[in-house]
Symmetry: C2
Subunit: 217 residues, 2 copies
DNA sequence: CTGGAGGTAGACCGGTCTGTATACGCTTCC
DNA sequence: GGAAGCGTATACAGACCGGTCTACCTCCAG
C-alpha cells in the first residue's frame, strides 16, 4: 500500500467502482477518469485490468477484515457474545449507504467459469472469515465445533446475500436469532444431565439415497 | 413457452450460457451461434438482450422451482421433515455437474446498481423461495414462524453461495445440521413446561446502539 | 545546468459489443 | 401460381473495450 499517491488513488477508486457497479460494467477508462490519473500511469502500476481487479479486491478485503474484527471485538468481550455480535455488526454494515454485499462474493459470481488472479483473493478472504468464526467457536468451547462453525459461516453468508437481495426485512436480526439458538444448544452449559445419548448422530455424514432427476440450472 | 421452436432453442441456450459464464460475459453472437439461429430471428422474438436475459432467467427459474418443490415433497411426507429435506435436495443439487449457484442470485449480483427487467424475475423467485419455506414452517406449527422462516431461508441462501465459493466442505450437511437444531428448538413438542417466561424476547427487534466507524466496502 | 524519474494528455489499434438492414430460401395455404 | 410468413446468411453501423504509443511537463538530485 502507498507505493505512490497516484497508485493509491487508482486502487481505491477502482475498488469503489468495481464494488458499486461490477467488474465487467466498469472499464479502465472509467477508473482512469474517476481517479484523475493518466491511463499510462495506471498501466505502469498494474500490468492489466485483471491485476488491478485483484489488487483492488485485496486492498478492500484487508480494510474490511480489520474493520470487522475490530468492531466485533469492541462490541463484546467473550467468545459466545462475540459470535452473536458478528450479526449486530453485520446489521450495521447492511444499513450503510452504498452497501452492495460482500465484494469477494460478488467477484466470485462475476468471475465464475474463468481463471482470474482475483480468485485467490476471494479464497483468502472467505477462508479468513471461516477461520474467524472457527476461532470464536473453539474459544467458546462449543460442541461439534466444525459443523457449528460451518453453520454460522453459512448463516453469515446467507445474511449478506439476503441483505443484498432485499426479500428479508431484517436479515441480520433473523440470522442472529438462529445463531443464538445454535450457540445455546451447542454450549456446554446447555447439555442437561438427562438424555445422555443426545449428541449421537454426528451430522455431516447423513445423506439419503433418494433419486431425483436433475435440472440444468 | 414454445412460441416457436427457434424461440425455444434461443431461450434454453441463452439460459444455459448466461448461467454458466455470466450475463456480461456472453454476447448475443455467442447465443446466436450456439443455438443455431439467425441473429434476426433472435431479435424478432426478443426485442433486446435485456429482454432475452429476463425471459431466460424466468424460464430457468420456473423449471427449477418445479423440480425443487417436487423433489422436496417426494423425499419427505411431513412439514418438519420437508424442512430438513430441503437441505438434502440442495446437497444433491450442489453435486450436480455444472452447478454455479442460484441463477437469480448470480443475476442480482451481476446487475447490481442498474435497472434491468430481470430484477422482477429475481424478486419473484426469491419471494417464492421464502414463501415455500414459510409455508412449511407454518404447516409444521413452529414457534416464532417469521423469524424461523427467515433464518431457514438465509441458511439456504448461505448454503448455496457456500457451495459456490467452495470454502465449506459440506455446506448442505452443515446447513441441515443447523436447520435441525432450529426446527427442534422451535417445535411445540420441544417447549418444556418449566420456565414459562421463555418466549419473551421476541427477537427481530434487538439492536444495540454501539457506534463503530463504517468502511467503504 | 542537466538528466532522469514519474506523471499527463490524447491519439490510436484491433477487437468485440448490441442492434439493424438487405437479400435470399423454404414452406404453406389460398 | 403466387404471396405471405418464417427463418437464414451476412454485411454493416456506431459505440465501447483493453492496451499501446508518442510527446510533453515538472520536479528533484547530482
Amino acid at each position: 500500500m502507498c507505493a505512490s499517491p497516484a497508485s493509491d488513488r487508482v486502487l481505491h477508486t477502482a475498488a469503489s467502482l468495481f464494488y458499486k457497479r461490477g467488474i465487467h460494467a466498469v472499464g479502465v477508462d472509467t477508473v482512469v477518469s474517476a481517479s484523475a490519473v493518466a491511463k499510462m500511469t495506471l498501466y505502469k502500476h498494474f500490468p492489466s485490468k485483471d491485476a488491478l481487479v485483484a489488487a483492488a479486491l485485496d486492498e478492500q478485503g484487508t480494510q474490511w477484515r480489520a474493520w470487522f474484527s475490530a468492531a466485533v471485538e469492541a462490541v463484546a468481550p467473550t467468545a459466545p457474545e462475540r459470535i452473536l455480535a458478528i450479526f449486530d455488526v453485520l446489521g450495521h454494515w447492511f444499513e450503510t449507504e452504498g452497501f452492495h454485499g460482500d465484494a469477494t462474493l460478488n467477484a466470485a459470481v462475476e468471475l465464475r467459469g474463468t481463471e482470474h488472479p482475483a480468485w485467490e483473493v476471494v479464497r483468502a478472504h472467505q477462508g479468513w472469515l471461516r477461520g474467524f468464526i472457527g476461532g470464536l467457536v473453539a474459544e467458546a468451547g462449543l460442541d461439534e465445533p466444525e459443523c457449528t462453525a460451518d453453520a454460522l459461516y453459512l448463516l453469515m453468508e446467507g445474511a449478506i446475500v439476503g441483505a443484498q437481495v432485499g426479500i428479508t426485512a431484517h436479515p441480520a436480526a433473523a440470522a442472529r436469532c438462529a445463531a443464538g439458538v445454535l450457540v445455546e444448544v451447542r454450549s456446554v452449559a446447555h447439555r442437561p444431565p438427562r438424555e445422555a445419548g443426545h449428541g449421537k448422530a454426528r451430522g455431516q455424514g447423513q445423506r439419503q439415497g433418494q433419486e431425483q432427476e436433475e435440472v440444468g440450472q
